[in-house]
């Protein structure tokens, strides 16, 4: 301490605070700074458990399959993360994804639109759907849960009416729409798809945007404390609107990934996709109260779900254990989040 700071003796409270930290508090501090740490540990434990149960699990081929199975949920979870960071929630994300995929498929198949414009239109429809959610949240001032519960029903029925109950099958799909199903061979025998690569690229982009741009900072600030954000001159509603619209675009891209994954566009797919995405985000350590979390946590969360799902079936165990395990993980993750928040507040 220099003489200059010694004169301001009243400000030594910070040092006292730091000295009082117990090991538990230090752990809380670490978990707070790196919210993806505990889900990463859970993922590693799950990998070890299934590897020891059956030798089939850890085969490169099977691990590649897990990433393919995870790609759709992980893409949805990315958009969901943006919304949950603002203390919102989106129950309509799966419906938006399926709606977008149907628009892509039918535009190309029924309307004779070329593959790429059809793909673009489908993603635009996803963005518009997100914009509608955002407008209802910001302009009509409804809770996000209610807004997206409503639009979940609306988008689902629009999809069914638009598709007239019919699936666009593999050989009817435009080539561009099937790109993301194409395999990519990695060294070591791993096989992923272009869909996995697109998903990873999206995660990298949004990890950067959230961490290094003003918009990202504002997303966190709006979720953390909207009043403080407003007083700091941030236009809270504009940020929220941009988040819902951006998430809608991501859900539209998820529709493209979905077509690649199932090799068809079906109005009946993605029934539980909304809950799966929320599960991935929550297990990934992002707080449902907003303002805390990292996108890579959601990717890990989606992988945990994928690993448990795949591991149980490869090991020949009852699928019912999946719901038990994932349900338990959700409770544990939210409890841990509460604990971290309470201790740091």
């Amino acid at each position: 301490m220099t003489d200059a700071t010694a004169t301001t003796a009243g400000y030594d409270a910070a040092e006292e605070f730091l000295d009082r930290q117990s090991p538990i508090q230090r752990l809380q501090g670490i978990l707070h700074a790196y919210p993806w740490l505990s889900p990463a540990v859970v993922l590693v434990i799950a990998l070890i458990i299934f590897s020891s149960i059956t030798s089939l699990f850890a085969q490169p081929g099977n691990l590649g399959t897990i990433t393919q199975q995870t790609a759709v949920t992980a893409t949805l979870a990315l958009g969901q993360t943006l919304i949950i960071l603002t203390a919102g929630i989106d129950l309509s994300c799966g419906a938006v994804m399926v709606f977008s995929s149907m628009v892509m498929a039918k535009m190309a198949f029924d309307q004779g639109v070329a593959g790429l414009p059809a793909l673009f239109l489908g993603i635009v429809v996803g963005g518009l759907a997100g914009l509608i959610n955002g407008l209802l949240v910001t302009r009509v001032n409804l809770p996000p849960f209610i807004v997206t519960l409503g639009t979940l029903g609306i988008f689902t029925s629009l999809t069914l009416l638009y598709a007239t109950g019919r699936t666009v099958r593999n050989r009817e799909l435009a080539d561009e729409l099937k790109w993301l199903g194409k395999p990519v061979l990695l060294p070591g025998g791993f096989t992923i798809t272009y869909g996995v690569l697109v998903m990873i690229a999206l995660y990298l982009i949004f990890a950067y945007v959230l961490r290094y741009t003003a918009w990202g900072t504002h997303v966190y600030a709006v979720g953390d404390d909207p009043d403080a954000a407003r007083l700091a001159g941030i236009q809270v509603n504009r940020v929220l609107l941009s988040v819902y619209a951006t998430a809608g675009v991501i859900f539209g891209i998820a529709g493209w990934v979905l077509i690649g994954r199932v090799n068809a566009a079906s109005p009946n797919s993605g029934i539980d996709a909304n809950l799966d995405s929320i599960t991935a985000v929550v297990i990934g350590g992002t707080s449902l109260f907003g303002g805390r979390g990292r996108v890579f946590g959601s990717l890990i969360g989606a992988l945990i779900v994928g690993v448990v799902d795949n591991g149980l079936s490869v090991a020949g165990l009852d699928e019912a254990y999946k719901r038990l395990a994932i349900g338990t993980l959700i409770i544990v993750a939210v409890t841990a989040d509460q604990w971290i928040r309470r201790a740091r507040a």
Binding site: T5, T8, Y11, F17, A214, H218, A228
Partner: protein, 277 residues
């Protein structure tokens, strides 16, 4: 008590131009008259306390000066130039910063991020212009320099989350943010209302540091001893008007309370006391 006193603030005592001045400000909410031709003058380098009973219109007055409310009639002047603010950002763009009583910082964000919230600085070159990358290291460095300048020595780590700080330290972050961007006026709206005795003392010391740096400060407060400790002049608001401007040296706390409640009337010519120095 009439609006004729609005002609030239400062009276005959000085020709110094006010930094921020309001003349005949009126603001009504339906039938409620919050400001009834209120005058206001802040002079360079002074700490001006604004006090008044509940409903006297002091928070409406401050909202008008900080751009949070638009007065129905009346004129405002910043360094002699007439101004009108439609929103807080407009006042902020002209160098008027406000610190609120409600610890207006985002708890999960770190100190530097909070200081630059809404005014983030991008990196120079294509990283900043094309990739919109923020200059995190630069902002942390500038935040640290600002803290040191204000004598907030113990806040060393600008990457520390604000929620790990005490209430006084959080308010110090707010004050440092205001001081970093407020080039002309800093308004502190009940900055110690949510704080304990010791933490309040920290904030009061910050206010004194601001004055030593020549920054004019408006302090809204209920706390008479605090007002008498740091204020150069005291603006007493009553029934939507300025009832008096007094110096702590010339009047007792009892008399100020009497003016606030209307028990003591102040002649109109004494209401516009000029700068002390």
């Amino acid at each position: 008590m009439t609006e004729t006193t609005t002609t030239k603030s400062g009276g005959g005592t000085s020709t110094v131009q006010p930094v921020l001045e309001g003349r005949g400000l009126v603001k009504t909410y339906g039938r409620v008259v919050a400001l009834d031709g209120a005058d206001f003058a802040l002079y360079p380098g002074e700490v001006l306390a604004v006090i008044g009973d509940n409903g006297a219109g002091k928070s409406t007055l401050i909202k008008a000066l900080s751009g949070a409310e638009i007065p129905d009639t009346g004129d405002m002047f910043l360094d002699g130039q007439q101004v009108s603010f439609k929103r807080p950002n407009e006042a902020r763009a002209m160098g008027i910063e406000t610190v609120y009583q409600t610890l207006a910082v985002a708890p999960a964000l770190d100190i530097a991020t909070n200081m630059y919230l809404g005014r983030e600085v991008r990196k120079p070159g294509p990283l900043g212009s094309v990739f919109r990358m923020l200059d995190g290291a630069g902002m942390r460095k500038a935040a640290k320099a600002q803290m040191t300048e204000l004598g907030i020595g113990t806040l060393q780590n600008m990457a520390q989350a604000v929620e790990t700080l005490s209430g006084g330290q959080r308010q110090a972050v707010s004050v440092a943010r205001a001081a970093a961007f407020g080039s002309r006026v800093i308004i502190l709206d009940e900055p110690t209302a949510a704080l304990g005795v010791r933490e309040s003392a920290q904030v009061l010391r910050l206010i004194q540091n601001l004055r030593e740096r020549g920054m004019p400060v408006i302090l809204i407060s209920h706390n008479m001893p605090q007002v008498f400790e740091v204020a150069d002049r005291i603006h007493v608001q009553r029934l939507g008007k300025r009832a008096a401007v007094i110096t702590p040296q010339s009047v007792s706390i009892t008399d100020v309370v009497a003016i606030m409640t209307g028990a003591l009337q102040v002649p109109a010519e004494d209401q516009t006391l000029g700068p002390v120095r």
